[in-house]
Symmetry: C2
Subunit: 235 residues, 2 copies
């Protein structure tokens, strides 16, 4: 199997969602069926960057994961782009034999049988501000496929009040799924510093809105990596 890989980096910690703070090596896959208006990973999405993506065999990816982690098993997060447009089953099988755990983050537009092999599947349906529209039948198929995995969770990024109302409705569709909300980040230029006051202020506003509303189900988290490293790549 040949994979289109944008970058492999780490070990660092997962910056967001269910595994926040966990030691992780990231495998970023190239290509995406979405074009979110506020995408923070366009270098893994837009075909103008395609020449920077490397065709790699499963073995070559696993070799690099092993090298970066010194052969000590940890969580490998398969991100993108939308990794679900490629077949990560062979990579997951290779790594699990050695004790590596696998997480994957995807918007839920494409279902894959290998979702069931994951330790953690993060389904991240995109709210209205993205400019994309969720196909809930396809999302449902992803949820169904995740039944066999370790844990499946939902993560929604909130940029504005419309997104917030939408997130509540989306969450109501899947009352059993753990839910994570995070404030949207419009400062995505890797060459510009992030304003920490603004970033923590957006988090505070989302916390106050949600708890003030009596909506206690979601966990509300920042993007830790943005607070710590700004939008620098490879951390």
């Amino acid at each position: 199997m040949t994979l289109r890989i944008v970058e492999i980096f780490g070990p660092t910690v997962q910056g967001e969602g269910a595994l926040i703070g966990e030691a992780t090596v990231f495998v970023r896959a190239g290509g995406c069926d979405y074009r979110c208006s506020w995408c923070d990973s366009l270098h893994a999405v837009d075909s103008q960057y395609r020449h920077t993506w490397l065709p790699m065999s499963d073995d070559a990816v696993m070799d690099e994961v092993r090298r970066l982690s010194g052969g000590r098993p940890l969580t490998v997060s398969i991100s993108g782009g939308n990794p679900a447009i490629q077949d990560f089953a062979p990579l997951i099988a290779l790594g699990k034999v050695e004790g590596y755990r696998f997480a994957c983050e995807t918007q839920g537009s494409v279902s894959q049988p290998w979702f069931a092999d994951l330790d953690t599947l993060v389904l991240s349906p995109k709210p209205p501000s993205s400019g994309e529209t969720v196909d809930w039948d396809k999302f449902d198929a992803c949820v169904q496929m995740s039944k066999g995995c370790g844990q499946a969770v939902m993560k929604i990024v909130i940029f504005d009040d419309t997104d917030y109302v939408w997130a509540k409705e989306a969450a109501a569709r899947y009352p059993e799924m753990p839910l994570y909300l995070q404030p949207g980040n419009l400062e995505v230029d890797p060459d510009l510093p992030v304003n920490l006051e603004d970033a923590t202020d957006r988090l505070r506003q989302l916390i106050e809105k949600t708890t003030g509303d009596g909506w206690f189900a979601p966990r509300i988290l920042p993007q830790l990596h943005v607070l710590v490293w700004g939008n620098k790549r490879g951390v």
Copy 2:
């Protein structure tokens, strides 16, 4: 049962550890058997503040939790001080009937039968920089008592390299317990602003040290509430 209560506040989100980001009402208990050098809650520890602690019945505490949460069940975090020097069994029983979940954070110096009634027990042994010395027999007793609870986790605050080495040894005693590390915070004056650059820098350093060391077991998290609200009380 009469409890010594410093403050009851929320709903806000849990700022640290295993439940980071989760909607929570905090019940802060007064009194502590430790005097950590860098304590960030001296108003709940030092007897000079004792006149500010309220004697409250279990029913009165539960009434206030219910009022703050609008009667919607959420996580109640029992903190301190060291809450384990009081009897929270009746409060937990009252709340669980209504669907509230209970977490408790304690240093592990005093074991209580009601640990088994908790959804989450956070045992936070204090590293050398605290000036306290952990009695591991007593800590073991807490771990044993927690067997019946939903989840028991260990959280260690790291101020310096000595703490870091100590944390590794402490973690090795309990390889089965999920472990959370957080960088220490020396800016604890509620009237002074927190320097966000410094706080995120301490987090970055701890992440880099731990992952660089190939120590992948702990999750490394900040104190979110400090990033968002500084050391302001009641949030």
